[in-house]
């Protein structure tokens, strides 16, 4: 503790040098915290958005569907998969869906489309597309039992861009055409526009339609089968665990694949990873600043005090004690710089996570990233594990970068060191 006390004294006494190093390290670190917080928040939002607009956190599909995207790969017994999923902790909801590509037309106008057959009662609970906040007009799909008469055209729910392409409004009729499973000829069916949505994701707004699951199964001859059972979780970070548990629970069915959103939404995930690389670069730079800052400051301080250390060795300070002394100086410097950086960074983070930064004001229409637009404010999210990891890295680096200066100090020969005026 003598070493720490001396180190603290040395920190205080060399005010200028300590201050410069502290400022460099703490600002770098504060920047790291706030930028990473914003990035993590953005990534979580993208993932959540992707998950809530599309797949769910974990999907169960017929094995091969992810690759081929055709009706040759189906979940034969979706009820069983759903029952299994509902027993797993953190699974908030389960949605059965049918996906297939097709054509949508209204009079002379038509467009390629992605058809999703969804359960009208469930979908609003698992997907934001179905929620009123994304609806620009009309209502959401009704189950067939609630239609005016039994063989009336089914409800269809589509994006605003697509509605413009087809020049349709709520209550207008459209025709869907798609290839059923195991059939040569395409099948067609008429639908009535029930509602129109807007998500900001161009692919969804321009090409995606939803119809009732029963209508989709009938049109495509699926007989109760689905292409996907999607699981919505309470927490994005439970994804890996739930995926594992689902795989274990469905171990006996090798005709199924259980995929986390990172795989199911691989394009989105790749975009997040790409963005993270930039962030890692920043990490590396900040950690370099820390390492070089500490190394430089401590080495300078050791070289400057050759005589002082010479006297200390002469009067009986052991080499181990001197070594510890130098390391302690680096640690004190780091603790102060790190604490200041953490305080600034966390304050920024707190502000960014509560008030947020209005990017609308900065960028007008908001930012678009990976096909998703960020309107309004951006926020910051940090996980304690991340902060703990930085702390470990910083202190590891500090110790590493003070090893050489510390070693230099112990190599001093007292007689020579004291001749050094």
């Amino acid at each position: 503790m003598l070493a720490l006390k001396l180190a603290w004294r040395s920190f205080i006494r060399h005010r200028r040098r300590s201050a410069i190093t502290t400022i460099a390290i703490s600002l770098g670190f504060a920047m790291l915290i706030s930028v990473t917080g914003i990035a993590i928040n953005g990534h979580d939002r993208m993932a959540n958005l992707g998950v809530r607009l599309g797949s769910g956190h974990v999907v169960v599909q017929g094995k091969g569907f992810q690759q081929e995207q055709t009706l040759n790969f189906l979940v034969d017994d979706p009820e069983r998969v759903e029952a299994v999923a509902r027993t797993i902790p953190d699974v908030q909801n389960v949605a059965q869906r049918v996906y297939t590509g097709g054509l949508i037309s209204s009079g002379e106008l038509n467009s390629a489309t992605m058809i999703a057959g969804v359960v009208p009662d469930i979908e609003p609970q698992v997907s934001d597309i179905a929620s009123p906040s994304h609806r620009t007009s009309g209502g959401y799909l009704r189950p067939r039992s609630q239609l005016e008469f039994n063989n009336a055209p089914g409800d269809i729910y589509l994006g605003d861009t697509l509605a413009r392409t087809l020049d349709v409004e709520v209550e207008d009729r459209v025709v869907l055409t798609a290839s059923p499973a195991n059939a040569e000829r395409p099948a067609s069916a008429a639908f009535r526009v029930r509602g129109i949505f807007h998500t900001g994701v161009s692919e969804l707004d321009g090409f995606y339609v939803q119809i009732a699951l029963g209508d989709a199964q009938e049109m495509l001859g699926l007989d109760g089968k689905v292409t996907q059972v999607a699981l919505l979780l309470n927490d994005l970070r439970a994804t890996a665990r739930v995926t594992k548990e689902m795989r274990a629970a469905l171990d006996d069915q090798d005709d199924l694949e259980v995929l986390p959103w990172q795989v199911a939404l691989s394009e989105l995930y790749d975009a997040i990873v790409l963005d993270s690389i930039g962030n890692y670069l920043l990490h590396t730079i900040v950690f370099l600043i820390v390492a070089i800052g500490i190394f430089n400051t401590i080495l300078m301080s050791v070289l400057e005090r050759t005589r002082e250390f010479g006297v200390m060795i002469a009067i009986g300070t052991s080499r181990q004690q001197l070594f510890a002394q130098v390391i302690a100086e680096a640690v004190v410097l780091a603790v102060v710089a790190y604490s200041v950086g953490l305080a600034i960074g966390l304050s920024l983070h707190y502000w960014m996570s509560t008030t947020g930064l209005d990017v609308g004001a900065l960028y007008g229409d908001g930012l678009e990233f990976a096909g998703i637009s960020f309107n309004g404010r951006i926020y910051s999210t940090l996980y304690p594990a991340q902060v703990a990891q930085w702390t470990a890295i910083v202190f590891g680096l500090v110790i590493l970068s003070s090893l050489y200066p510390a070693f230099r100090a112990t190599r001093l020969k007292p007689v020579e060191a004291m001749r050094h005026a």
Partner: protein
């Protein structure tokens, strides 16, 4: 017969300067007894510092032996020498002796901390010494806030606080005016008498040399005279 505190036998030290070998000490035979107050005198370059460094275990002889209470110092490891310097020896150097970030009190305390002495005992000892050598009012000053003479007094306090058997002082008065030098030597002599600490110091200041009980004269690395002077100090 009790062993001498220090005994040098045929001690030689030479420095290599490029191709030239500079002899700094040549065949020094000498013994220092417990309780002596000895001065090493001699012109610049005569080997005073070299001899003190060898005795203090800060450097190793090229030839010859140094016995500490009969034990050959060359057999000691670096760690043992460091322990020896901590527990057996006290050092006062010519200048810039103190740790600049510590106060006078803390500088003296440093050795006691290294020795692992309890807080209460540290306080008692340093309090006494500071009182004795007139440092009580300066206890919380840093080296940069003290005069040269005051700093040297702190260095002496640090050197004796650890209760060493031997204090080695290399020109402790070189940077001081003559009045301050005389006071410092006076003080060391008193410590020697009251605490039984052995002192060896080097000097070429005649007024300091006058106070010595034993005067060892060096010239060109050799002892040219060695006399006891009972009436000194």
């Amino acid at each position: 017969m009790p062993k001498s505190l220090i005994e040098a036998q045929g001690l030689c030290k030479s420095y290599q300067q490029g191709a030239i070998t500079v002899p700094a000490l040549q065949d020094v035979n000498l013994s220092i007894e417990h309780g002596e107050f000895a001065v090493l005198a001699g012109p610049s370059g005569s080997g005073k510092t070299t001899l003190l460094n060898l005795i203090g275990g800060l450097d190793t002889p090229t030839k010859g032996k140094l016995l500490l209470e009969g034990k050959d110092m060359s057999t000691l490891s670096g760690r043992q020498l460091s322990d020896l310097r901590l527990h057996k020896f006290g050092f006062v150097f010519q200048a810039y002796n103190l740790v600049p970030v510590l106060t006078a009190y803390e500088n003296a305390e440093y050795v006691l901390l290294l020795q692992g002495i309890k807080a209460e005992e540290r306080q008692r000892r340093i309090g006494e010494i500071f009182e004795e050598i007139g440092l009580a009012d300066l206890a919380s000053r840093r080296p940069s806030e003290m005069s040269g003479g005051q700093q040297q007094r702190v260095a002496v306090a640090r050197a004796i606080a650890g209760r060493p058997a031997l204090v080695l002082a290399d020109e402790p008065t070189a940077n001081l005016d003559s009045k301050t030098s005389a006071d410092l030597i006076e003080m060391m002599h008193r410590l020697k008498t009251d605490h039984g600490v052995t002192f060896i110091f080097s000097s070429h200041d005649p007024r300091v040399i006058d106070r010595a009980e034993r005067l060892i004269q060096l010239e060109d690395g050799r002892v040219v005279s060695d006399e006891k002077r009972a009436n000194a100090a």
